[in-house]
C-alpha cells in the first residue's frame, strides 16, 4: 500500500517535469535555451516515471527492465545533448539577441591565432 503511494508520487513528479520541460522547449527563444530546458525532461521526467514504476512493481522482470531503462537514459542523453549543442554552434546557428557573452566563440578565436 505505502509502496504504491510512493510510486505514484514519483510518477506525478516525473510527469510534471516532463510538462514543464516541453513548455520550455516551445516557449524559449533560442536553440541552446531550448536544449537546456528540454534536457530537464530526462533527469527527472522520464527517469522519475521509470523510478516510480520500479518502486510500484518491485524487483520482478518489469522492475529490472525499468532500472535498465534508467541506466540507458542517464548514459546516452547528456552525450547526445552535448553533440547537438556543439554541432549547432559550429554550423553557425546564431544566438538570440539578449546574449551578453559567448565563451566558446572567444575560445575558437584564440585557438585560430
Amino acid at each position: 500500500m505505502i509502496r504504491e503511494i510512493i510510486g505514484m508520487a514519483f510518477i506525478l513528479i516525473g510527469i510534471t517535469f516532463d510538462f514543464f520541460g516541453v513548455l520550455g522547449l516551445v516557449r524559449l527563444p533560442d536553440v541552446y535555451n531550448r536544449l537546456q530546458a528540454a534536457t530537464k525532461c530526462v533527469t527527472f521526467g522520464s527517469a522519475g516515471i521509470l523510478l516510480g514504476v520500479l518502486i510500484k512493481q518491485g524487483f520482478n522482470n518489469f522492475g529490472f527492465k525499468a532500472l535498465i531503462g534508467i541506466a540507458f537514459i542517464f548514459l546516452t542523453s547528456p552525450v547526445s545533448a552535448h553533440a547537438i549543442a556543439r554541432a549547432s554552434h559550429r554550423s553557425g546557428i546564431s544566438l538570440t539577441k539578449e546574449t551578453i557573452i559567448d565563451k566558446y566563440q572567444e575560445d575558437n578565436e584564440l585557438k585560430d591565432d
Binding site: F19, C41, S46, I49, I84
Partner: protein, 112 residues
C-alpha cells in the same frame, strides 16, 4: 486577441485532462497518459514549425525520451513487461539517430 489565445490553450489543456483520448475510462493512469500525449503534441509543433534544423533534432530527441515514459505507463496499466523492451530499443535507436544527425549538421560525413 491575447485573451482569445489564452482561452484556446485552456480548452485544449482541459480537454486533455478531463477527456479520454485513450481506450478505457475511469482510471487515473489514463489521465496521466493524456498529459504525456499533450506534451508530445507540443513536440510535434516544434518539429513542424522549427525555425532551424537543430530545433527539429532537439525535438525528435526529446520525443524519444517521452515515448519511453509513456510506454512505461501503458505497460504499468496492462501489467505486461514487453512494453519496456520496446522502450529500451527506442532509447538506443534515438541515441544513435541524434548522434548521426548532429554529425551531419556539423558538416562532416559519416566515415569521418
Amino acid at each position: 486577441m491575447r485573451v482569445f489565445r489564452w482561452i484556446i490553450g485552456f480548452v485544449i489543456i482541459a480537454s486533455f485532462m478531463f477527456g479520454n483520448f485513450f481506450i478505457y475510462t475511469g482510471v487515473i493512469l489514463f489521465k496521466l497518459i493524456n498529459v504525456v500525449l499533450f506534451c508530445s503534441l507540443f513536440l510535434l509543433f516544434r518539429v513542424i514549425f522549427g525555425p532551424t534544423a537543430a530545433d527539429r533534432i532537439v525535438a525528435v530527441d526529446i520525443l524519444g525520451i517521452l515515448i519511453i515514459g509513456m510506454l512505461a505507463l501503458i505497460g504499468l496499466f496492462y501489467d505486461q513487461s514487453f512494453f519496456m523492451d520496446v522502450g529500451l530499443i527506442w532509447a538506443l535507436l534515438s541515441f544513435i539517430a541524434s548522434l548521426a544527425f548532429a554529425k551531419i549538421l556539423e558538416g562532416r560525413s559519416l566515415d569521418d
